[in-house]
Structures are given as structure tokens and as C-alpha cells.
Symmetry: C2
DNA sequence: ATTACTAACTTACGAGTAT
DNA sequence: TATACTCGTAAGTTAGTAA
């Protein structure tokens, strides 16, 4: 259906037109929707032409009911929204192993970061990170969980930014930490994992291997 | 939001714009929605003007995220549809006792109908019906349950139409049958009850008394 | 009372193009 | 490349009114 008729269809649904014929007038619908009587008349004729409702107009008003096609179109809007809003924030994502930019490796070599990792997660970092290419939308959902923060610091030379961390499990077996520096050059489809061990070796991964990452 | 932008907002949501900033181009959105690049540009600016998204355009693309207002508007669509589609088909309705048109009383006096009632429901009809004024939408839901049919018949003089029947319980106490003649002059906000007894007396009802009718 | 046609008005759209 | 302005055209809206 034309989207601009969605509110009208919602109103008709509330009146029961998904279940049985309902009788109404273009005038009353006009009052309830803010459109003119003439526009409602036209819109209902459009919905009929598009096969979304059955309509029987007379001088005493209009009787109408949704067709199966009409019900389906309305329900598909519902299902899309349901998907968006009732999604158990799927705290897992699939990623494809790719070569890293070295950004993460750089961080894992810096003592001040290493100390904080040890303090927060109880392990010494394996030097190097596992870079995963993921669906950016999925990554957004993943990283919308509250992160554990590694704090930035300054040296005489420069400023080091903070890092967001999410403890996770890779392939339901190996514990790791997904990291995202506050200021990063990473594109939105990359996420980096650090761990106390060499993840590539432990999981026998090559480039293009696919792994599953679950929040913990 | 303008309804005509709903599909665009759904697309943005799927890309994760409810949760975090996403980066995209008007051109790619145009391809995915079927609108022109110019229209997407205009629509995004509209959404920003309406306070539904935050938008940062540059020569490398657009970064955007839904505002709370935008999230709310989208969610309200969802909640309305949820209401419509996940409604436990409330098979009960409230009705206000009103004087009848006598239509039901007429039917309950005709032997061929009386016999069928006896056969289907096992009781002799009390002569007369209880007329209830109900919400037409609620009645539609109620009567969308599969009815038990009393069949029409012909005499030398005229044709008598069929009657749809729904066994029910009034005020959770007294059994009755809601009836709706196939061809009726009743307005959509009236439903009639028949029973083996005088419902008005049994339930001490006057005009304007409110009763609850539950499908059985 | 209705529905819905006509005609005038208003808004939306997108090709061309500037930046 | 990107966004977005201009402007001619298409589509949507509604007041008046017929049926």
C-alpha cells in the first residue's frame, strides 16, 4: 500500500476491518484523520483498486473489509517493526577474519594499556589482535551493550585515547575481549579481538574463516 | 513523522540508526528505496527539521542517528500494529441493555427456528430476546468467531433467512446464545441474546444495565 | 444523509547542475 | 566522489457541487 495511507489503514484495522465488514462514512473518517471527505473517498477507492480492501459504497455509507492481500501488507509492516523493536538485542555476531590495520596491535604493545587490561580482565595480552569483518548494523547492536572502559592517558609526547571493551566468547569456546578505541580509523564493519592467547592459532583460523562472537 | 517517510525510517532502523550513528550516502539510500538521490537528500533534511534524526552531512556522506523523538514515533507505529495483530482475540464484550426492535422476538416465536434451537442447544427458547448495545468494533471481533448456523427455510408465503449463533455466558453466570440473523436490520452496535429463561429477570436487569458477554 | 466528479491549488518529485 | 539548490512537471488535496 502507499505508505501515506498507512494511518488510514491503521484506523480501519482498529475498527475491526481485518476481521469483518465494517460500515462507515467518508465524512467520519475525514474527521478522525484530518483529511477531507473527498480525500478519504479517493483513498478508499485507491485501496480498492490496489486490491487491499473490498468496498461497497452506497448513499447510506460504505461497507468495507480488508482483503487477504491488505491484511498481509499491514502485517508485513508489523513484522518489520517487530523485528526492529523486539529484537533480543542479539548479542552475538558473525565475523570474517581479515588482516588487521595494525591499530589494535599498536595498542596491545603499550604498557599503560597492558596494565589496565591485566587489572580489568586478569590476563596478559597476547601481542596482536584478531580483526573481523562484520555487518556494520550488527556491530552497532553489539557495541550498544555497555562497554567496560579502558581509560586514556597522556605522556610527555602525546595523548592516548580510551578504549571500549566487551568481554566475549569466540565460537562458544575461547574467551576474548572485543575492543573499539574511542577515536579509531576503523571502518564501521571491523571489530577487533584481543585475548591472552593467539586466537588465530588456538582456533586454527585463516583469512576468510568465519567465527561467531558472543557477548558475555 | 510524515507517513510517506516510514519506509525510509524502517530502512534506517534496520541499518542500526536507532542504536548508534550510521554512515551512509543519499545515493545508496536512493538505490535501496527507489527514490532519487535528490529526494532522499530532501527527506533526510525534513527528518532533521522535524527533530526525528540528527544529521551531519559532508562531502564524504551523511552520518545520522535517530533522536529520542524519532525513536518514539517509530515505536508508536509499532505499538499500534502490535495492538492490532497480537490482540488476544478478546472474545468477550460489554453491552448495555436496551429495548429491542422486536426482530429477535419475532424469530423466537417461529416454530421452525424453535425446533432448530432445541436441537442445537438443547433447550426451549424463552420468548423474547435481550438486546445489547455494544461497541461495533468489539462486536466485529466477537462475531468473527465461527458461528453455529441455524438454517433458513421457505414456506408457501415467504423465505426465512439463516441465523448465526454463538453460545456464550452472561456475567460469567448464565448461559445464553448470541444471535445475528444473516439478513438483519440491526445496526452494527446491537447484539441479541436468547436463552431458555428470561435473562432480564434472572439477572435483574433494567435498561442501561451493563452486562459482560463471553464466548463459550 | 450519502459518495464522488471537476477544477483550482498545493505539495512532492527528480533531471540538471552548482558547490 | 559527495550533498543539495533550481525549476519544470507530476501527483496529492480539497472546495464546490452533482447525483
Amino acid at each position: 500500500m502507499k505508505e501515506e495511507n498507512l494511518a488510514l489503514c491503521l484506523l480501519l484495522s482498529k475498527k475491526g476491518a481485518l476481521l469483518s465488514k465494517i460500515k462507515l462514512s467518508t465524512f467520519s473518517l475525514a474527521r478522525q484523520t484530518g483529511f477531507s471527505q473527498q480525500s478519504i473517498s479517493r483513498k478508499l477507492r485507491e485501496l480498492e483498486t490496489d486490491g487491499l480492501i473490498e468496498r461497497a459504497a452506497s448513499t447510506s455509507g460504505i461497507e468495507l473489509i480488508f482483503t487477504q492481500k491488505g491484511k498481509n501488507e499491514l502485517e508485513s509492516f508489523y513484522l518489520e517493526l517487530k523485528d526492529i523493536f523486539s529484537k533480543k538485542k542479539s548479542q552475538s555476531l558473525k565475523g570474517k577474519v581479515v588482516d588487521g590495520l595494525g591499530e589494535g596491535s599498536y595498542y596491545t604493545a603499550i604498557p599503560q594499556y597492558k596494565e589496565q587490561f591485566k587489572k580489568l580482565f586478569g590476563f596478559d595480552l597476547f601481542p596482536g589482535t584478531l580483526n573481523l569483518e562484520v555487518d556494520p548494523a550488527q556491530r552497532n547492536i553489539f557495541t550498544s551493550a555497555p562497554p567496560i572502559q579502558i581509560e586514556g592517558f597522556k605522556t610527555a609526547q602525546r595523548t592516548f585515547g580510551g578504549i571500549n571493551c566487551w568481554p566475549c566468547k569466540v565460537n562458544s569456546k575461547v574467551s576474548a575481549v572485543a575492543i573499539l578505541p574511542h577515536r579509531t580509523n576503523h571502518p564501521a564493519n571491523i571489530i577487533e579481538l584481543v585475548a591472552p592467547i593467539n586466537l588465530r592459532k588456538k582456533l586454527s583460523l585463516e583469512n576468510k574463516s568465519v567465527v561467531e562472537v558472543k557477548l558475555q
